[in-house]
């Protein structure tokens, strides 16, 4: 196959767009928590960017897209470190292998980052980082193989959902959103409720950050969905328009639900509706017409707006509604394909409402159910193991005081001038010099000065 420069340009640009979604998630989630935990919330997303970037090039890509073992998991050793894919002879479709590697990497990153919203304000940061690596290895990479690895594209044999079951999941309603939502639910159950859940006011501390995050998500999502065409072509254009239409409709659906139920359409409702619509159209954007996309959007906006209240009824603290938005939105989009798919869209399949019968519907339901069940069970095992050994939750007092101070020794906002106590050790910590309350300093202790001079001369 020959490399097409247009396709390659679009996929590389899309990969960058999708990478921007994870800081978008950080802002979206960060604004929603209280001021004492915004840094930790954002650091959970940034941490996932760091750990998964490294994990992906080592064994993650190979596990997801290497030669598949019975359609269940790719061979993690085949492309370990990626060095055998660097030649310009390594071409998948019309793009360089590494363009595909880059594009899929950012999917893995954001899926992991999405989970963090369910356990806001209370997760031990070191355990979270370890969790991201284990979870990606045992849950995300295999599931990505099931859903995204088509036979004969990156490997001769791909995953079972994509090739045998033939569930339509264009950009990750199952592998990304149902997967992250189910994982979030089970982690929220394992870690338990935040202190004061459903009693203390836990309002978003900064709605403008939430809106900015939602805007970046919407922007980046065009890379997520239209980039999944893996080419600058008609499929990319159709999925782009469907992504826009569904998102607008979901925003309206959520606002209308709030207006009827609570009397006001809120900015958090608009931002949440946008994300719900993006989630729901993700699997479906290649399979429906723009009218179908609007229908999916409205459905997702209304159902997710109703679903976010379930946590109070059932008493689980999915703090930022990863379940209500991503699990429910992912299910809505994945199942809706069975009803609303139209053969006039690029996927070329008719759903129930377009005379296709029940064939696609059961494939969608089984695919969604399989990912949900696998993610719930295996994440539960990982979460419990980490919780019992390393501990997954910070101490009570630390949580009350605020996780930013406990886990990162920082405060998010210094808006007043009264906080300062003076610089205690300028640069000393960075060079390992003793502090005041440890052994007396002697003149041979490495000090900041010589290194600084070296750096500036």
């Amino acid at each position: 196959m020959k490399i097409d420069s247009g396709d390659t340009a679009w996929v590389l640009a899309s990969a960058a767009l999708v990478l921007l979604m994870t800081p978008g998630v950080a802002l979206f989630y960060g604004g929603m928590v209280r001021a004492k935990s915004v840094l930790n919330m954002m650091m959970m997303s940034f941490g996932a960017m760091a750990t998964i970037s490294v994990t992906w090039v080592l064994w993650g890509y190979s596990e997801a897209f290497g030669e598949s073992w019975h359609g269940l998991v790719g061979n993690p050793f085949q492309h370990f470190g990626l060095s055998n894919l660097l030649s310009d002879k390594s071409v998948f479709g019309t793009i360089p292998a590494l363009a595909f590697v880059a594009f899929q990497a950012v999917f893995a990153i954001i899926t992991v980052a999405l989970i963090s919203g369910a356990i806001a304000d209370r997760a031990k940061y070191s355990t979270w980082l370890i969790f991201t690596v284990i979870w990606a290895t045992i849950v995300y990479f295999p599931v990505a193989n099931w859903v995204f690895a088509f036979d004969g594209f990156a490997a001769t044999k791909g995953g079972w959902i994509a090739n045998s079951l033939k569930t339509i999941d264009f950009a990750g309603g199952t592998a990304v959103h149902i997967n992250a939502g189910a994982a979030g639910l089970v982690l929220a159950l394992i870690l338990g409720k935040r202190i004061g859940f459903a009693k203390d006011p836990m309002r978003p501390h900064n709605m403008t950050l939430v809106m900015l995050g939602a805007a970046l998500l919407w922007f980046g999502w065009f890379g997520f969905n239209a980039g999944s065409a893996l080419g600058a072509n008609n499929t990319a254009a159709v999925t782009w328009v469907n992504t826009m239409a569904a998102t607008g409709a979901a925003c309206l659906g959520w606002l209308a639900t709030e207006r009827i139920r609570n009397g006001h359409g809120t900015s958090l409702g608009a931002a949440s509706g946008i994300v719900a619509g993006l989630v729901a159209i993700t699997p479906a954007c290649s399979a429906v017409t723009p009218i179908g996309a609007v229908a999916i959007g409205i459905l997702a906006g209304v159902l997710c707006a109703l679903a976010v209240s379930l946590k109070f009824r059932f008493g689980y603290d999915d703090s930022l509604d990863v379940v209500g938005v991503h699990l429910v939105g992912g299910l809505v989009g994945t199942i809706a394909i069975g009803f609303l798919a139209s053969a006039s869209a690029p996927a070329g399949v008719d759903g129930l409402f377009y005379g296709g019968g029940l064939d696609q519907l059961w494939r969608q339901a089984v695919g969604a159910g399989a990912v949900l069940t696998y993610s719930f069970v295996v994440t539960g095992l990982i979460g419990l193991a980490l919780h019992k050994t390393l501990g997954f939750r910070i101490e009570r007092d630390a949580e009350v005081q605020g996780i930013d101070l406990e886990e990162h020794a920082e405060s998010s906002y210094d808006l007043g001038s009264l906080g300062g106590g003076g610089l205690s050790h300028a640069g000393a910590a960075a060079f390992g010099a003793p502090t005041n309350n440890s052994a007396p300093t002697n003149s041979s202790t490495p000090a900041a000065t010589p290194n600084r001079q070296g750096a500036t001369s």
């Binding site: 006011p201 309002r203 709030e258 809120t266 409702g269």
Partner: protein, 112 residues
Amino acid sequence: MKLVTAIIKPFKLDEVKQALEAYGITGMTVSESSGYGRQRGHSEVYRGAEYKVDFVPKVRVEVVVDDVDAGDVAMVILKAAQTGRIGDGKIWTVPVEDVIRVRTGERGLDAL
């Protein structure tokens, strides 16, 4: 001397300041504060969950004045800050033993 403290609705601050200036008051201290009285708080809804927010944002205006002006100053603030609706705030007056101007060391009325 008396300290007149008024807790008012934030959007009334400009009117109160202008009224005090018109009366001849030359300085005041203003701070943002929060609280509730009979008004209690208000409710806010986030993703369908209704939160009762008890502490409502207010502005605290503090003026130190000569004893004979205290009653008038309180009435000036009252007229400027009143909307007649719930949550207009409170005004109270307490005696002040001494005032010192930091720059010059002047005391008492000279320091106002």
